[in-house]
Amino acid sequence: MEKTIITVVGKDTVGIIARVCTYLAKEQINILDISQTIVDGYFNMMMVTDTSGCAKGMKELSDEMKALGEEIGVVIRCQHEDIFQMMHRI
């Protein structure tokens, strides 16, 4: 399993999750976990996804999600899970 962490941060608006999930479904990316909070009107979401079914490379995926974020007006980051595991788990 290729775990990728997707984070979405930005001003809250209608349909953020829908747009992101539609894209993920199109790319055959399975969502394993979602957590989401709103802090001071700012939308903050983290998804743990499995990208092993996705045909696209990490760089391409990352660029496309970034572009999607710009369209919606939020910042979307797409990072390999290892960076978080390394930093926060001994």
Binding site: I5, T7, Q36, T37, M46, R77, H80, I83, M87, R89
Partner: protein
């Protein structure tokens, strides 16, 4: 499973606190390029560097994109050039040709610096070492990306004072040879005592002769992250302070370890070491001086600075060592003046002097770094500065270095701009009392006794 708070913490470090991996440095042995014909050496050196490092920059960029962590520099270090060119180069001019080959190879593979235009002369100089040293001013003027370093002493051998004296001249000549660029050449020239073989940071990186054919070394950074963490424990006692620094250093280093392992795997080159240095940049908030201020000093240079820095340096190592299997290089807080906005401010405010910086180098890596001094400083005075710093390294069994820039045509009170990561610096006054008779004596300072440590 990783939770949203941990993810946010990491991303905040990257986006707001300037967390980055400062450099992936590929060490390449050029010992197999040695020949007595200079053309052959140049061809082999060019071929080997461009072959080994062909994918270095791209790999760095790929890793950066996948993990979302900036990797600022991709660099190369090579076997000390005095050894590589020793059999072929019959004059300083020959060595300049070799430097130009290194520069071309660096440009071809797209790295921003190549280090290892170096000579190791801690006890004595061979003819080749001396040719290389004498070629440094021209070599640095004729190239853009070549960095040069000279090891002048060690705890085991003492200090080669002949070489120290010579380097006083060479630093000044390098300044003159690059006077049209505010003596920028001196920013790419550093002298060491106890130089490490596996340092990934410029200008002092070289690939030691005890190393494998090729190796990946990684330098991490993150003064901004440490500073931010310390703002959360303002006015807490030293125990809490130390714990916070250690935990933060652990997290920073783990990112370096991940990047190093991944780069080594993708390039199929063994992983060497992680260098646990807090390396500042001129960016606001990415400053070691600001950490010292957060610890409780009005400005870097105030009484207490040396103690605060000693504590900071030690805690960074304690946290970092647990995060990586192999730690090496310089591993400590850097205190370059021109590359650290807080240090620049402290100098401008009159809080930080050259003498205080010298004291600070006793407790942290790496030495008098990126300090602009008046262009009319005498070569013997520069040699004296170097000798002092070498002595600190020799006696304390640590690496020390000197990278001072005598800015030709400028004096105290003026500012010099180097641009980019090298930053800008106010020109600092140097003690003008002479040391000619001392540095002109010739010979060596013997190695110190390793007992009776007081």
């Amino acid at each position: 499973m990783i939770n949203i708070f941990e993810v946010s913490e990491t991303n905040q470090m990257i986006e707001q606190e300037n967390l980055d991996v400062r450099t992936i440095t590929m060490g390449i042995s050029l010992l197999d390029c040695i020949d007595d014909n200079l053309e052959n050496v140049r061809n082999r050196v060019y071929d080997k560097i461009t072959r080994m490092a062909r994918d270095l920059v791209k790999t760095g960029e790929d890793i950066s994109a996948e993990y979302g962590i900036p990797i600022v520099n991709k660099r190369i270090s090579i076997t000390p050039a005095a050894l590589v060119g020793g059999a072929a180069c019959k004059s300083p001019e020959d060595f300049v040709l070799l430097a130009q080959t290194l520069d071309q190879a660096a440009k071809e593979v797209g790295v921003n610096f190549i280090g290892g235009y170096s000579a190791l002369v801690s006890k004595g100089m061979t003819k080749a070492d001396e040719f290389l040293i004498r070629s440094i001013p021209q070599a640095l003027a004729a190239t853009d990306r070549v960095c040069s370093s000279v090891n002048l002493g060690s705890t085991k051998t003492g200090i080669n004072m002949d070489a120290v004296r010579l380097m006083g001249d060479i630093v000044l000549e390098t300044a003159k040879a690059t006077a049209d660029k505010d003596s920028l050449g001196c920013a790419k020239l550093v002298v060491f005592c106890n130089a490490p073989d596996d340092n990934p940071f410029m200008a002092g990186a070289f690939h030691g002769v005890t190393e494998a054919d090729a190796i990946i070394n990684v330098g991490v950074s993150g003064p901004g992250v440490v500073k931010h963490a310390l703002t959360q424990v303002r006015d807490a006692n030293f125990e809490v302070l130390c714990e916070t620094i250690k935990k933060t250093a652990f997290k920073i280093t783990r990112v370096g370890q991940l990047v190093a392992r991944e780069a080594a795997r993708r390039l199929d080159i063994p992983f060497g070491i992680i260098d646990l240095s807090l390396a500042p940049t001129p960016a606001v908030g990415d400053s070691v001086a600001e950490i010292l201020e957060e610890i409780g000093l009005e400005m870097a240079g105030a009484p207490g600075t040396t103690a605060a820095l000693a504590m900071l340096n030690d805690q960074v190592k304690k946290g970092g060592i647990m995060a990586s299997s192999y730690v090496g290089g310089l591993s400590g807080a850097f205190i370059p003046v021109s590359e650290d906005q807080g240090m620049i401010d402290a100098v401008n405010a009159g809080a930080l002097t050259l003498e205080k910086l010298e004291a600070m180098t006793c407790v942290c890596s790496v030495g008098l770094d990126m300090i602009a001094i008046p262009g009319d400083t005498k070569a013997t005075t520069i040699a004296g500065l170097i000798a002092d710093e070498m002595a600190i390294g020799m006696v304390n069994q640590k690496t020390t270095a000197v990278r001072v820039i005598p800015v030709i045509g400028k004096g105290v009170g003026e500012t010099v701009e180097f641009g980019g990561l090298l930053g800008y610096a106010p020109i600092m006054p140097v003690n003008t009392f002479g040391c000619e008779r001392f540095v002109n004596r010739g010979g060596r300072i013997p190695a110190p006794v390793h007992s009776f440590k007081n």
